[in-house]
Symmetry: C2
């Protein structure tokens, strides 16, 4: 089994990467495994993976309970959070109860926030079942729910005790979700490691075919990059924001289309092309880089153009949606731009330039 360490003092933890991992066997190293385990999952994942995980946790815990949420980004709400908290209270769960998030980003974010806030904090473990969650959302301690007025607006920085990336879970992952995960994978190249990007260019077909070794390499390298960034800036006061490359445009796409219409990774993919084009027009990177990024995104089967959100003034609608982004300050939107391939910067951009890019990059 491979492992990547996230170094955060008393909140440090490991990401374990393997195939058909026996969760009960990795728990002893974390000090967890007594009392009550509560698995939070969704109805889709429950049908595929719950029996195996439940049985494994039954070896380590005196009692195993399950909360099944409905499946979908539209359920990343206070209602789902409250469903978990109410169940925990109903079962008399105390501060030693361990939450297990079995699912993708939505399950991980909601479960992590429940762990952060139940009795002011209980331990939790991430068991990500999608590529996107394995390379991004389950690592780094960002937890949240959506608010009708904005995505991920209510949440906490709260670290898991361990993350177990089981590549066997990806066997059942639908192609569209695999592709969405590849969106977040591609992101790590332009912001941190162009040799990884180059390797990806030579491995895209194997990745789309779910080659187990290529998947292992991808998950490990993405987690290594994320670990380095998160360890240096846990609460996103600076450098960590570079991991949001493509996300400012992407969040506008998700919100503007209605959550769940575009998958997060699809919106980020189109958002990366827009942010790259913005970097080019800002004089940072050349057209060769933008074309190279666009080509890889296209080979992954991901969108390279943003949708039209408002036929009368599309750019105004994007700008309106982006101003509520968590990276904005005093109404000024700060974009993650590519300074040079492999290096990102965070900075505001004049509205006029952003409008140009939106006009060119949407259809």
């Amino acid at each position: 089994m491979r492992s990547v360490h996230i170094s955060l003092g008393s909140r440090s933890y490991d990401i374990l990467i393997g195939s058909a991992v026996a969760v009960d066997e990795v728990l002893p190293t974390t000090g967890l495994g007594r009392g009550v385990a509560v698995i939070v999952t969704n109805t889709t994942i429950a049908a595929l993976h719950l029996p195996r995980i439940r049985s494994a946790l039954g070896h380590a815990f005196a009692r195993v309970e399950v909360v099944e949420l409905p499946d979908g980004e539209e359920f990343k709400t206070w209602g789902s959070l409250n469903q978990i908290l109410t169940a925990l209270l109903g079962w008399g769960c105390d501060r030693n109860t361990v939450l297990f998030a079995l699912g993708g980003g939505v399950v991980g974010d909601v479960t992590g926030f429940a762990a952060a806030t139940y009795m002011r904090g209980i331990p939790f473990v991430q068991l990500p079942t999608t590529l996107l969650a394995q390379v991004d959302s389950s690592v780094g301690g960002k937890t949240a729910i959506n608010h009708p007025l904005g995505k991920n607006m209510i949440g906490a920085f709260y670290q898991p005790r361990v993350v177990v990336c089981d590549l066997a879970c990806l066997d059942t992952l639908p192609l569209r979700e695999l592709q969405a995960g590849i969106g977040e994978v591609i992101k790590y190249g332009p912001v941190a490691d162009m040799s990884f990007f180059q390797w990806l260019e030579g491995s895209m077909e194997a990745l789309l075919a779910k080659d187990r070794e290529v998947l292992a390499d991808v998950v490990q390298r993405c987690c290594e990059i994320k670990a380095a960034v998160v360890s240096s800036d846990e609460r996103e006061s600076g450098m960590r924001a570079i991991l949001n490359f493509g996300h400012t445009f992407g969040h506008a796409i998700e919100a503007g289309m209605g959550y769940g219409v575009w998958l997060h990774g699809e919106a980020v993919a189109a958002g990366m092309v827009m942010a790259a084009e913005l970097s080019r027009r800002g004089g940072l990177v050349d057209e060769v880089f933008v074309r190279r990024l666009t080509a890889l995104i296209q080979r992954a089967g991901l969108p390279t153009k943003g949708p039209i959100l408002d036929a009368s003034d599309n750019a105004a609608r994007y700008l309106e949606l982006m101003r509520i982004d968590k990276k904005s300050e005093g109404g000024e939107i700060r974009f993650v731009l590519i300074d040079s391939p492999g290096k990102a910067v965070l900075r505001p951009v004049p509205d006029a330039l952003v409008r140009e890019v939106i006009d060119v990059c949407c259809e």
Copy 2:
């Protein structure tokens, strides 16, 4: 102006104690004071203190907004939290927005939790207007809302940037609330400092008469004790729990009677007598100590007996309510007991002994 420092590394802050404090003048030392200030208060406090605070903050911030919650423990809910979060999103507040909690424990707890979770954390300032909030709830970073199944069950440890205890706010505090605050003041003696307890025995009349110097001494000493405890155990993994002396019984009283029927400090007062009696029957303290504590609580005008929560089996009802306490572990209730006057310990007690105490101490 007096000050007490809470030492928590990068989360350290000061508690400032004075009369008619100009809030805008103390802000510069905290690095706060630009962009948007949002004052969260309740309708009662707004009528008394809002104009002065709003005007002061107008000198330091470009924009000052206000959220008015309804007054009362029964509004320490998700509904009030969401009222704050929705207002912040509606005003386009970003991560530099500063929340000011102007009020007692309910306002402080809800506002602190809103600050902890809005965009995963924004700065906040406590402006406690009750004695209870000045000596206890506004210091130490415990934030929470109630859940229908339990008090303070959803929350976070999240520290304010500064706490300003303005003794002038206590001029308008109703006697019953002053007395409830004295309940929490008395607590600090048995758990940490019997010389303070002795001083209180000689100062109770002046305290009830709101003597400004006595109030200043009381707030300072209680904050000093709390600062020492919180600095050594921020997240209540051990020693910090001693500050919950009287609270296990007290929470059962509040929940059993319906939140708001007994004030928190009243429930804690009766709860302290019960916990002291439990300590005596457990062989820790003598009857002289229990009588001395009971006498001081009585002189403060506070209840020394718990209410009957269930005429058919009162002890069973208390036990049922106490098992859901955050200090319980595996269904075993851990009580804060007085080991010897001035020193507390946390330990489980056999149900039979707890039943005896409930039978003797309720009427």
